[in-house]
Symmetry: C2
């Protein structure tokens, strides 16, 4: 199996990306990592590390797509960018199962959707991050931003795809609880899109549809999958992120202005705070998965450092080994 | 000036509502509080308290609208409910400036919109809570749920009305910073509604439009007003609330499983946690204001106890004294 890595995506490219690649091959065996980007620079960075050299392969790509590029233009014109070369390589090689990039979200999405084949029947691939929850289980939110405008048929497919994903990251025979994000839990609440989507989800047999859920239920862990259009999903995701950050700031302010007592309290509670910070900083545990294509695409956070890149690579391998694409096809065929 | 209070709305009605009423008249002078509900029961509860008896007036209403009632049906049929009697009284008496209720949000909204006069030119009244922020200033979010589907012209009016509200709760000559909630800060991001709304907000002179903001910017305090449709606003608001609750749960779990060290740390940091909890529990500081009508309507949280009801009453008086209705009219006329 081969995993393709965009070495020139993200704020810390290329050094941290290569670092993560080396960490990944040293931590787990059984696959080859294909690094895409400026060959000479990559070779230079790699020369500082010890790793099984037969498991890292380089494909040269001299151009870079940045956050300032307009995604559609960049994908069309920068044909020698690490992103375009990497996705094309993924598309053309059966043994290549997944592509990992910390590059511009818009470019990763556009490139993947334009250059990779869709799973038969899927109209809109969508982006699905794994969120933490109070109950210590993972919650999937789909779509978190790939599709601003959606139809009920799209949301049905988001539910089916993320249900398959949820089955991959949980025990065998797991039946996910799926909630539809809305402005109230009552059945009569919701946008016209919600009201059209509900009966479609209700008729699915492969997961338990629990009905409408509210923004406050996302991180509670009461559901395994939150289904929504990409616009609402993005607002919900970033509202959760922002509140977590704001609360950490408030705690910090409180400690700084609370005198010696608060400072000692903080030192004693440091492990607790660290645990919560690690939990809430879900971006470090891997990336958001773009589901709906015949290959796995993982969008790692733009600020990814080596550790996160390693986690995104291991996530890609795990999903490839569990054959998420096949699971999605089964899910689509069963409902 | 008269403030009208729905004594039979909310989970803790009527006892806590009457308690809040007494606290309010004892704390601040210069107005009469009109209590609407079952007269004999109210008199019984009032008999336990000391208060200036000429400042509390009772209007009998024998029926009650509950959360189980369908709002439109209830407003039409339960004509002797505290909610309908109270709103009608507000409508018919010039001296009555505001109505406070902790009852069903749907019923308060429907009743107010059906029974009160709108401000000339306003198409859709909307609900505006006051949120806390890292920078210790208040952030207004409008609409937080009254209007699921909106047009750009509605969002423009939400911005104008909440800008006027922001001016009421800040210093004289304050010019609010207004952000449009979207799925990205870049100008090209956003739903079709966002893209149509942006130029309308840009052309306003009475506030500073800062462009698109994301969910993560709501509690940062970088803007004074967040404008959005009621569907997205509700999701954002509840995502923020849910994350705050989830983080408190995680801190609690961490302390409980962290042994003696964590417990001592908690005791030392208790004042800090308490401060943040009070700050984040913005529902206790008053209610969400329904803006766009010729009278002030305040929806206090369903779980309101005496203290919160008192705060909502004082909030109503403050907004009446600052003549928020007039300020909204000026804002509409100036843009």
């Amino acid at each position: 199996m081969e995993i393709v890595l965009d070495v020139y995506g993200g704020d810390n490219a290329p050094i941290e990306i290569v670092k993560g690649a080396v960490q990944a091959v040293n931590e787990k065996g059984g696959y080859v990592l294909t690094l895409v980007g400026k060959e000479n620079e990559i070779k230079d960075i790699l020369s500082q590390y010890t790793y099984p050299s037969d498991r890292i392969k380089i494909i040269n790509a001299s151009d870079v797509i940045t956050n300032d590029d307009v995604p559609t233009d960049a994908i069309r014109k920068k044909t020698d960018s690490s992103l375009v070369v990497g996705i094309n390589y993924l598309n053309e090689n059966d043994d290549a199962k997944a592509f990992v990039s910390a590059g511009s979200t818009g470019a990763v999405l556009t490139g993947s959707v334009l250059l990779l084949r869709r799973i038969r029947g899927i109209n809109r691939p969508a982006l699905c991050p794994v969120l933490p929850s109070v109950q210590d289980k993972n919650v999937l939110l789909m779509d978190c931003g790939a599709n601003v405008e959606c139809k009920a048929a799209n949301l049905l497919q988001f539910a089916q795809m993320s249900s398959a994903y949820s089955k991959c990251i949980n025990d065998k025979d797991f039946k996910p609880k799926v909630g539809l994000l809305s402005n109230g839990t009552e059945e009569k609440k919701g946008s016209p899109l919600n009201k059209e989507t509900s009966p479609l989800l209700k008729s699915c047999q492969t997961f338990d549809f629990v009905g409408n859920i509210e923004g406050r239920d996302i991180l509670s862990g009461d559901v395994d999958v939150v289904v929504c259009d990409g616009y609402s999903g993005n607002i919900a995701l970033k509202s959760c992120e922002g509140t977590a950050l704001s609360m950490f700031s408030m705690i910090k302010q409180g400690i700084l202005s609370g005198g010696l007592r608060a400072k000692i309290g903080y030192l004693l509670l440091k492990p607790v705070f660290k645990g919560i910070k690690t939990k809430m900083d879900y971006n470090k545990n891997g990336g958001a998965v773009l589901l709906g294509l015949e290959k796995i695409v993982i969008k790692s956070h733009g600020s990814s450092k080596g550790e996160t890149i390693k986690n995104s690579i291991l996530q890609a391998i795990d999903l490839a080994e569990k054959d998420i694409i096949e699971k999605i096809k089964n899910e689509l065929a069963s409902n």
